[in-house]
Every structure is written in structure tokens, then in C-alpha cells.
């Protein structure tokens, strides 16, 4: 396992922990989601560059396309929450609380 891959896997795990552990803002979790996508992009690009498997360079571009869609939908939901409550604190999302 090349040592650079270990660092990129570590970055992925750090961003994953960042999504799973909430603090006050919702947009911080969306930023950690973008971090996951970034680490996956770098990982698949390095794999394709090292193995010289030329056709698999399609996958980072497609990953970027669907990451853009996902970021757009996530930000739209955040805009709705911010319009309703004034700020995007996670503790405001308590309508279904028993």
C-alpha cells in the first residue's frame, strides 16, 4: 500500500467523522460531505494514473458531476431551513421530536 494512499484514506475517514458528529451548523456537515467527495476524487485519480488504465478516467469526471447535483440539492435544503428559522442550526430541526 503506497504511503500516499494511506494519507488520502485518512482524510476520507476524517471527513466521514466530520459528517457523523454534529456541532451547531448544518452547513459544516455539508462541507465535510464535499471533503469526502474531494478525497474520493483524488483517490480514484491517483489509482487511474498509477495503473495507466486510461478508460477509468471517466469516473472522476462523473463523480464531479453527481457531486455537483448533490451539493446543489443540499444547499437548496439549507436555504429552505435558513428561510424558515433564520439560521441553519441543527437544533432547530425538531418538528418530529417526541
Amino acid at each position: 500500500m503506497p504511503s500516499i494512499y494511506i494519507n488520502i484514506f485518512l482524510a476520507f475517514i476524517l471527513a466521514l467523522l466530520g459528517i457523523l458528529v454534529y456541532r451547531s451548523h448544518l452547513i459544516s456537515s455539508l462541507l465535510c460531505l464535499e471533503g469526502i467527495i474531494l478525497s474520493l476524487f483524488v483517490l480514484i485519480t491517483l489509482t487511474a494514473l498509477n495503473t495507466h488504465f486510461t478508460l477509468s478516467f471517466i469516473f472522476p469526471i462523473i463523480l464531479l458531476v453527481f457531486a455537483a447535483c448533490e451539493a446543489a440539492v443540499g444547499l437548496a435544503l439549507l436555504v429552505i431551513v435558513s428561510n424558515t428559522y433564520g439560521i441553519d442550526y441543527v437544533q432547530n430541526l425538531n418538528l418530529l421530536q417526541c
Partner: protein
Amino acid sequence: MTYVVFLLSVMFVMGFVGFSSKPSPIYGGLGLIVSGGVGCGIVLSFGGSFLGLMMFLIYLGGMLVVFGYTTAMATEEYPETWGSNVMILGMFVLGVLMEVGLVVYMVMSDGVEIVVDFKNMGDWVVFEGDEVGLIREDSMGVAALYSYGSWLMVVAGWSLFVSIFIVIEITRGA
């Protein structure tokens, strides 16, 4: 100088620790921009110049600009930076210590190496018939999206088109 890619990947992880310790979102965006730039440098040093350009243009120049504007809309009056809250500082220091421990372990066990020799001309020089051609493997791979991956191109384009209407529909109903 041989270990410059390893140092870049260490800076990549430091940037990730910077926004994963969750300061106020504008500082998290700063950490993501730094990580994006350093990740582009890693991709460039392995020879993928087209994909590095893709990352700067589309990821940093498109998606993060949108994130920056949305953060400016939904931000608070006194943003928390890495030094103002002891929780954020503690998480950041813990992440930095973990990465330093990993680097020390790798240097001590002498496992830091370069995978590919990027001066190897056999990667991008092709010999066909009597002539010698030149291809860039990452550009040619992405260009295959139009020939072999044409259905994937249609699906991706259609999903981008539909997501515009989805976003309009989400932000309309309130």
C-alpha cells in the same frame, strides 16, 4: 525533494483536520479550499494535468464559490475560529498529533517511497507503424466519455438538467 508528494499529502490531511473540527463554516470553507489546492498538486505531480485543471475549475471555482455565497447568507455575527473555542482547538490539535504520529511511524519504518517514476516516457509516447505519436492519457481517457461512454454522458447531462428544476422546486415551496 523526492518526498514532496508525501509532504503534499500530509498537508492534505491537515486541511481536512482544519474543516473537520468544525469551526464556523466560513473557516471550514477556507480549509476545504486549501485541501483542494493541495489535492490538485498531488494529482499534478503524478502527471494528471487535465484532471488537476478540472478540479480547480469545477470543484474550487464552481462548487466552492456556491458554498461561499450560501455561507455568507446563513452565517452568524461572531464566527468561531480555531482559537476561540477550546473544543475546536482540541479536535484540531488531536488531528495534527495523529498525522504527525503517522508521519513519524512511516519515516522510522522507512516506508516512504515514490510509486511511479514520472519521467518515464513510455507512459505517453505511442509507437504505431512508422511514426511516433504522443498522447496524454488523462485527456484521452476523459475524451472517451464521448465515444465509449456516450450513454453515461446522456445520463449525467440529463441529471444535471433535472437537478436545476429540482432545486427551483425545493426553494419555491415554503
